[in-house]
Symmetry: C2
Subunit: 511 residues, 2 copies
Amino acid sequence: MLQAPPPAIASTASTIRLRRLGIDTYQEPVVYMHRDCHVCHSEGFEAQSRVEVTLGDHHIVATLNVVSGAFLSPDEAGLSEAAWRLLGAGDGDVATLRHPAPLESLGHVRAKVYGRRLTATAFDAVIADVAAGHFSDLQLAAFVTACAGDALDLQETISLTRAMVNVGERMTWSEGLVMDKHSVGGLPGNRTTMVIVPIVAACGLRMPKTSSRAITSPAGTADTMETLAPVDLDVAQIQRVVERTGGCVVWGGAVRLSPADDILIRVERPLDLDSQGQLVASVLSKKAAAGATHVLIDMPVGPTAKVRSAHAAQLLERQLEQVGKALGLQVRVAQTDGHAPVGRGIGPALEARDVMAVLRRDPSAPTDLALRALQLAGQILEFGGAARADEGLHLATAVLDDGRAWRKFEEICEAQGGMRVPPVASQRQPVMAQRSGSVVAIDNRRLARTAKLAGAPKIPCAGIDLHVQVGEFVERGQPLFTLHADSPGALAYAAEYAASQPDTIHVIEDA
Amino acid sequence: MLQAPPPAIASTASTIRLRRLGIDTYQEPVVYMHRDCHVCHSEGFEAQSRVEVTLGDHHIVATLNVVSGAFLSPDEAGLSEAAWRLLGAGDGDVATLRHPAPLESLGHVRAKVYGRRLTATAFDAVIADVAAGHFSDLQLAAFVTACAGDALDLQETISLTRAMVNVGERMTWSEGLVMDKHSVGGLPGNRTTMVIVPIVAACGLRMPKTSSRAITSPAGTADTMETLAPVDLDVAQIQRVVERTGGCVVWGGAVRLSPADDILIRVERPLDLDSQGQLVASVLSKKAAAGATHVLIDMPVGPTAKVRSAHAAQLLERQLEQVGKALGLQVRVAQTDGHAPVGRGIGPALEARDVMAVLRRDPSAPTDLALRALQLAGQILEFGGAARADEGLHLATAVLDDGRAWRKFEEICEAQGGMRVPPVASQRQPVMAQRSGSVVAIDNRRLARTAKLAGAPKIPCAGIDLHVQVGEFVERGQPLFTLHADSPGALAYAAEYAASQPDTIHVIEDA
């Protein structure tokens, strides 16, 4: 038996000079250290170790990449852009590195993976660690996967939503109603928000709208709005915009209303996974934190939309209403037609073009987008008491037709920092009908994928311009849609995929 | 409607000079490109893009990190160590970069996440893409998580196992029996294999043993054996060793018997997730590929072992036998006592020390390890017909006692490349009993975790040396175990955790 006396224990933390390496790891904090670095040796760090980096009041947990190349010296620690930003570091700052405390909340993640129910306390622990950046990307992926589909029940969804609200910022408003809306997505081009907000605000109801960037779609409302005006506003700026104009359309992520959700989304996006519980928590945590009192949910239902059946819609509707009630929100769900894309553009700039056409009453404006926006705006006007029952649509239409909505939209864009002209793609290529006949179906998922392959939403000008609608007759060789991209590579990539999926726009020869 | 003629499409691939950056990303292939790089622009690549890199006959799919720092020039692409190795690149080589084909098999992963059953074709597609390195770490994490727990049924497990065998190398042997064994793990220090193989080989049965490195435990057999002899042998080398000596103990990962499993394991390890289906597929795919005809499975059962109940053991046993049958393997399961660690050492070098003591009949050798190994060796001798029923244990004991097993082990180590002396830890610290009384339980999971925090299995000398057994009486202040590490930081980290879990070795004051 080994009975040697223990050696004296050295400090369990080491200090080292920081260097900004300028490596964009897509928000995962990574620390780079040379394999001959004294901190690696004294602390026993190795590739993939989780390392706690402390600088003043800031501390992060980063994944270690060990470097043997000459670009990093053994007496410095390089940081990825995300790590640099989260730490608020400056070149030459000296940070303290140590082993992070073991992540006890991972036990809850494992329990969920194995199919067990989690308590509110468990969600609080997981979400606090997620928001604090203590989870690695792999651990985030496991949590997101374990919660995917219908793995969370009602009580778990309420717990997750509350946990998300608790770790974020909150907006507070003076007395009175605060209207909000959300579309559960899955329908390319469904940019009604940017039409609804100016209509509702023009009718005197307050509507501070925080929107998300795309998760699995080719554009989120924040991505689209950003091609027309700044959307990265802080809470004080948002409050000024809403005081002055009655409404806004800003990016919710910039105000950290639900920072845990923002972190989960960055893993959900490349995995392209949907989760009913996470969807409800994501939507309602942000609405609660934004101080909303009334939330209308636009839920497109269709075979290739995000919600594919009346049954799935009903389940989701009940969860949204019940979780909303638990959080003190009045939630109404409007099931809408989700069979075909809305508008013509798919991708931030192309969708912005459609929105502008509707607001400016351009004769070429897509009528489906206008009608859908008017119906939802009408419901919000009724929900908030600005219109009597069954008179909302009429009021909304009048406000759009007489130009008040357009003027309100210009006012909001100016208040947010000034109106912009959306970018235009340098690379375009039409995709032609392979036969003459009738368009019997449009596959939203494949269209969305094609637009993403072309570069949307990261490249704002990229996407698809759709030229046909379901029911229309087309001639062989007629363009069905045009691909937009800003590089020949991305254009070719999208075109190749489109060519491999000839039935994305399904044309059947007439008998 | 936009009807402009399409511009000519440039090539969908670009070439660029490669540079080895020497960044160890723990086997994820990563490509680093400057944000001003012409390939990023022409192809539309962005942070986290998946990029196909082709060099001669080799091609990989890597994750892109965009660099704005000065250490990388815009006319070169840096590669992580994993990417460099997989491509077989040399500095200055010019590679072709393009968008990879969309990963259709991800649709199957999503289906599994949502709880659907996968067909054999689906598993073939997923596993082929995994083995080819087409999955990112996030995607691997989603697949591993979706298959965790009991998410795979019998038919799915058979399909997964076959798919894994199909993408790997295979070993073939001349006529006759080929014995093999596997321990499902979860019991620290359970290094019976290194005792069993020389006994069985000394009795004339062929036993080419490929072992794994640790997945979630502080040491795998390959990690332990490596402190005594080289284990990274290729198929031809293994065949020579076995022809000459009748046995071997080598690392299975080096021969790519189940390369998809090796890739999944690198994600399973940090996630610390168990999956019954993946466990069965992992074990049996390697046995089938190694050319085994008879496989004995050592399954320790106990409240803190990997298999925790008789019921769980029964389910796993039936799956192992049925999947084995489907793959043409005779599988027998030996349920063994999984209540306490086996031997005294936990960690590669400390476990090797115990094995050596048993083989050399050192009076201080841990008798539990010796007895467990003899019982399993006896069963294999009976299973393979080298001993009559109920005479296996007797034969095994005789072969160990008369030194034939030790001589055979030396012979095997020499044939594998030469015997070595295991490394010894520079940092040690005992953990004392807080009270006097009887040891009523030892928590394997917490002990394993403590050993891992000390650095095992990556640091071979790190781990735990256990000084007490269940049932033993201890005095307050007596050392229960000693922590071994090679850095003060890791030692302190493990000691801190051990102090926070005082009941890892549960001592109850005698009444």
